[in-house]
């Protein structure tokens, strides 16, 4: 009897293993989020910065996982600035954690639990994980995946949301947020000439974030030229801005003509987003999925234009 049980258990294990190995289907839902350790870099003061991202293995399902036992980074956590909202598929080089010079052989561990399964990312200073700007740019398809050495010295773009970090808003009432993106060295050169606010590589847009039924402010950066000469762009009905409102503190979202094309980014330190990964992640996602702008022609017929 015992042998039969063992055989059954063994067969079940083999079936599970075989099924597990074949989990390469395009699942809409039911799969998990894998936190990802992207690498580390040394800062000028000798400290190190650890970079994280994630892979949501679903193609549609999104997760909201509040900071706590199911979404923690230790030691020093559970809140080390990680996201609480997880979009489908890959979001690489998403947020950073600075660690002291004497971090040495220590590790930070990011734990995420989805669908009852715990996944962890182990961040260390192992040599092979060392990165720099060129690595990040290349790995997220920056400059069309170029290997140009010039990208090593590329200065990352900056993004700033004007105004106080904390503002009061009424639920359901619009609130204006202005975000300014800069790319000081214009490397790689911008492909889309914007006529909105083009001083020294500055692109600014103001959009309206609607809090909806959720609390907390949100910001949206629209980096696509929409209508000439307009500095203040109203979000379209299909932009689903309030999808991002649940993020803590301040959310910065890029390219939102289609809600699925958006990439949410929680800000480490109120207002400023340093680093290039955020917009790049959004750009890549945008390119992959394409963005269609609905317009009407001179006869009033609906047309779709791919941006």
């Amino acid at each position: 009897m015992m042998r039969r049980l063992w055989c059954a258990a063994g067969a079940a294990f083999l079936m599970f293993t075989a099924a597990n190995a074949q989990m390469r289907f395009t699942y809409s839902s039911g799969q998990v989020v894998s936190p990802a350790y992207e690498g580390w870099r040394t800062e000028e003061d000798g400290s190190q910065t650890l970079v994280f991202g994630y892979m949501n293995q679903n193609w549609a399902e999104e997760f909201d996982i509040p900071i706590g036992p199911d979404n923690s980074i230790e030691p020093g956590g559970p809140d080390r600035g990680q996201p609480t909202h997880f979009y489908p598929r890959r979001s690489p080089f998403l947020f950073t954690i600075k660690v002291p010079k004497d971090f040495g052989d220590k590790e930070l561990i990011w734990t995420v639990k989805t669908h009852g399964k715990i996944e962890k990312a182990y961040a260390s200073l192992k040599n092979d994980y060392m990165i720099d700007n060129q690595v990040i740019s290349t790995e997220v398809g920056g400059d069309f995946g170029s290997l140009r050495d010039e990208l090593r010295t590329n200065i990352p773009p900056t993004l700033k949301v004007e105004g106080d970090n904390k503002r009061m808003a009424k639920v359901g009432a619009p609130m204006a947020l202005t975000a300014i993106a800069k790319d000081p060295d214009n490397i790689p050169a911008r492909r889309v000439a914007t006529d909105i606010d083009d001083r020294d590589g500055v692109v600014s847009r103001t959009v309206i974030a609607r809090a909806g039924q959720r609390t907390g402010p949100a910001a949206v950066v629209d980096r696509l030229p929409r209508q000439s000469g307009r500095r203040h762009v109203q979000p379209g009905a299909d932009e689903g801005v309030d999808r991002h409102a649940r993020l803590r503190q301040l959310a910065v979202v890029a390219a939102v003509l289609h809600p699925r094309a958006a990439a949410g980014q929680q800000v480490d330190h109120g207002g400023d987003v340093q680093g290039s990964g955020h917009l790049r992640a959004a750009r890549r996602r945008q390119r992959r999925r394409g963005v269609h702008l609905r317009q009407r022609d001179s006869h009033g017929n609906a047309i779709a234009r791919r941006l």
Binding site: A21, R41, M55, E119
Partner: protein, 472 residues
């Protein structure tokens, strides 16, 4: 009947047991093992070779006997020696420059070690091979050797990609290349091990092409000019078939336009050397290069601490195609790759090979064994990954990893190359294959239409309903 068979079998066993025993000849180093080492090991394992120890004399070899037994027994798995990972029981088995041991040779090595690794009669020792320092090339004496500039790679640093400049070929006339071999020459001592991905090398890969300044780089691509097979860590030589030499044009330069350097824990200075062998003057290729690309870099999703993970990619051949090489490319979690050809209901596994990221190998088919696949064939690539402790290559197998260019990220691609064939060329190639087959019961793996009747002259006004697939 069963009882009869059982009784007969028992009787047979008894007869065998009673037969006078013929003592098996002792396996010795001088008579048996040295020949195997000369053919399959010493090219790297000599005093100035790239391997960390010499395996020339009995005194060299004896301390490593147990290790040799263990490594040769691994066959196609990671860590196997010699590093040629074709699985012997699946698919095509005829490759150029195949140093692998036969099953009998593996058994012979094991027997020799189990019996105490005896030296044997010195008179049985074969004549020692001569090695000319480190300048020996596996393709033979090159007609042209080109050298990249030196690079110094820090002990610890981020992966680095870049353009490594031009190397003028110095050629004043067009030459067609029959073989090219690229090797990294660096200052890592032979007897020092290193503990990072790719270990003994710093050039993870080099993508390069030949260009004539002022002309488009792709000129002559149909004749085999332009891009060259990528160089990778530990990769072996490219040997082009007689019908598909590659053009190295007059006044051209090698453009090392996309190299990838990876620190190995020790400051290393090194460069690449490119050795070319030419076809005779006046040679012209008759086959056109194929544009088949097979792999997937987008959807890679490598789980931590899990064996048996698979990746799949497919492509449909747009022309009749002859595969020249199969070159699995994965990263550290990779342990195996298979290539399948699907022609209707005819599904053939062309090859399965083990993968070790410290020995990125290509497998060059013998000309009379290379896959001959008809237009419309679906080629299917399967990558196998292992991030458990059984695979020591991943830097941190506890971590999830996706696709990317870095050594800690992942690739999944067949970097091999192939040629496109016209209908006449395809039929002629298959006719040559049929001559090598003994009967209609003889299969040529990788040639699903070899026994199909040659294509009839098209009759545009009539269809041919009911004709079996493949007999167009």
């Amino acid at each position: 009947l069963s009882l009869f068979l059982a009784a007969s079998a028992t009787a047979g066993v008894g007869l065998i047991a009673q037969a006078p025993a013929t003592p098996a000849p002792e396996v010795t180093f001088t008579r048996d093992i040295a020949r195997i080492l000369q053919r399959s090991c010493q090219e790297c394992h000599h005093a100035d070779g790239v391997a960390p120890m010499s395996l020339i004399t009995y005194e060299d070899v004896r301390p490593w006997a147990k290790s040799i037994k263990a490594r040769t027994a691994l066959r196609s798995q990671r860590g196997a020696m010699p590093p040629f990972f074709v699985e012997k029981n699946i698919g095509i088995q005829k490759f150029k420059h195949d140093p692998s041991l036969s099953d009998d040779e593996v058994a012979m090595v094991a027997k020799w070690v189990d019996n105490g690794a005896p030296r044997g009669n010195p008179a049985d020792m074969p004549k020692a091979l001569e090695f000319e320092g480190t300048d020996k090339w596996t393709i033979g004496e090159p007609d042209l050797i080109l050298r990249s500039k030196d690079v110094t790679v820090p002990a610890i640093g981020p992966d680095r990609w870049g353009d490594f400049g031009l190397i003028p070929t110095g050629l004043n006339e067009d030459r067609y290349v029959s073989a090219v071999e690229v090797r990294e020459v660096n200052d890592i001592p032979h007897d020092k091990s290193v503990a990072t991905v790719g270990g003994r090398y710093v050039f993870h890969h080099m993508t390069y092409e030949s260009i004539v300044e002022g002309e488009r780089a792709s000129s002559g691509a149909n004749e085999g000019g332009g891009s060259w097979p990528i160089h990778e860590v530990g990769r072996n030589a490219d040997i082009f078939p007689p019908e598909a030499g590659r053009l190295l044009a007059a006044h051209s330069s090698l453009s090392l336009n996309a190299g990838h350097l990876h620190s190995n824990g020790r400051e290393t200075r090194g460069h690449l050397e490119f050795a070319f062998k030419f076809f005779p003057l006046g040679y012209k290729p008759i086959y056109k290069r194929s544009g088949v690309r097979l792999g997937d870099g987008i959807n890679i999703d490598v789980r931590p601490n899990e064996s048996g993970q698979e990746l799949h990619a497919y492509a449909v051949l747009q022309e009749h195609t002859k595969y020249i090489t199969f070159e699995p490319h994965l990263h550290a979690p990779g342990v195996r790759m298979c290539l399948e050809a699907i022609w209707g209901h005819n599904i053939q596994t062309l090859n399965c090979v083990g993968y070790d990221h410290n020995w990125v190998k290509q497998y060059v088919y013998e000309d009379d064994a290379a896959p001959l696949l008809p237009k419309g064939t679906i080629v299917h690539l399967i990558g196998f990954l292992d991030t458990t402790a059984a695979n020591k290559n991943p830097v941190d197998p506890r971590n999830w990893a996706g696709g990317g260019r870095r050594s800690v990220a992942n690739m999944f691609i067949d970097l091999g190359y192939s040629v496109s064939l016209t209908e006449d060329q395809f039929q002629a190639e298959m006719a040559k294959r049929r001559k090598n087959m003994k009967s209609r019961n003889d299969y040529d793996i990788g040639c699903p239409l070899c026994w199909a009747p040659p294509t009839a002259t098209p009759t545009p006004t009539t269809a041919s309903p009911g004709r079996p697939q493949g007999q167009q």
